[in-house]
């Protein structure tokens, strides 16, 4: 197989595992996601924070061994704060996010397929249409590039990773 085709197959395999896990975790369910946003069900928080702790330690070790490279997304306050809030509005109205909506569709949710999917496609397209107007204006406001937390604090990565892992585990013990 050509390497490009091979990677598409890997993408599909990883997706099947990811979708299986999301469904088993219950996070393809509207009730579980909205329960998190109403602060009555902390399943989503537990899944995400555990994934961050396990993932963070592993990928940083692998990078120390020279096995992997990171691709830190550049950002700005205009991009991440405003985009984050707009996303949050949609998150609560729809009750799925772009990954879990795919899982919800697999789970048989017609509202995800008919309402949500067409909305996401339209919303993504609208952003593509206005992109030239915001690209060098609001998306650049408060630009900080591909900054990381260790870079921001000017410390070794493990000085961030170990306390952060402890804090995230602590948060999970509280909730």
């Amino acid at each position: 197989m050509k390497s490009n085709t091979k990677q598409l197959v890997w993408g599909l395999i990883f997706g099947i595992v990811f979708g299986f896990l999301l469904q088993k975790g219950g996070v393809t369910s509207y009730d579980v996601i909205v329960g998190q946003l109403r602060l009555t069900d902390f399943t989503v928080l537990r899944v995400i924070l555990t994934a961050i702790v396990v993932g963070m330690i592993g990928i940083h070790l692998m990078r120390e061994f020279g096995w992997v490279q990171f691709s830190v997304k550049p950002g700005s306050l205009g991009k991440n704060v405003i985009g984050g809030l707009l996303f949050g509005v949609g998150f609560a109205l729809l009750g799925y996010c772009p990954g879990t909506i795919a899982g919800a569709i697999g789970n048989g949710q017609v509202d995800a397929l008919v309402g949500g999917l067409s909305g996401i496609l339209l919303g993504s397209w609208l952003l593509a249409v206005i992109y030239p107007k915001i690209r060098s204006t609001i998306l650049q406001k408060g630009d900080f590039g591909d900054l990381t937390l260790p870079g921001l604090l000017k410390v070794n990565q493990w000085v961030v990773i170990i306390p952060l892992a402890a804090v995230l585990v602590g948060v999970m013990l509280v909730f």
């Binding site: 396990v54 997304k73 984050g84 707009l86 509202d111």
Partner: protein
């Protein structure tokens, strides 16, 4: 193998497995898990059906080409994986109005789909504005300790919790 057919797994087990999956995607595919770019590519493909090559004049689609890539296959895989999991645990069911929605807003399918559609627009628009979603920023970017991802993830939940507060008239 009865654990495979259980309806739910512990969120800690699922979270840890997603963490390990993140190691593997980086190691084998040199990619971090993410989903929302796929919907942007998908919208470009749809526009291409109507406007042909003119789509490529949009700067956005020059940077994010409307084609099937690794992440696109990942998202298709999610649908299949969730379907398999639901099927073998007997929890697959066709549903238009989720239980929690029904309890708060009633049985209207039109209302549920209309609000879901509006939510989808915000979600698609917001995820592309922020350059990531709950998986790309919320899981993959945060574990890489990216400042952009931590800010995005925090504001996803601030926006979501405030909207839920407004929508349901209070928390809980």
């Amino acid at each position: 193998m009865s654990w495979l057919t259980e309806t739910r797994w512990s969120p800690y087990v699922v979270g840890a497995a997603i963490g390990v999956l993140s190691w593997l995607t980086l190691l084998i595919s040199n990619k971090a898990i993410g989903c929302s770019t796929t919907f942007a590519r998908g919208s470009g493909m749809l526009e291409k059906v109507f406007r042909g090559k003119k789509v490529e004049e949009r700067p956005y689609f020059q940077e994010t080409q409307p084609k099937v890539d690794w992440q696109f296959m990942l998202v298709i895989g999610i649908v299949i994986g969730a379907f398999i999991s639901a099927l073998i645990s007997n929890s697959f069911r066709l549903q238009v109005v989720p239980d929690g929605w029904y309890a708060a807003f009633g049985s209207s399918r039109v209302l549920r789909i209309a609000v879901g559609f509006a939510g989808g627009i915000f979600l698609g628009f917001g995820s592309r504005w922020a350059d990531g979603c709950t998986s790309g920023h919320g899981i993959s970017g945060t574990m890489q300790l990216a400042v952009s991802s931590w800010i995005s993830a925090i504001f996803f939940f601030i926006g979501g919790i405030l909207t839920a507060l407004f929508l349901f008239g209070g928390l809980g």
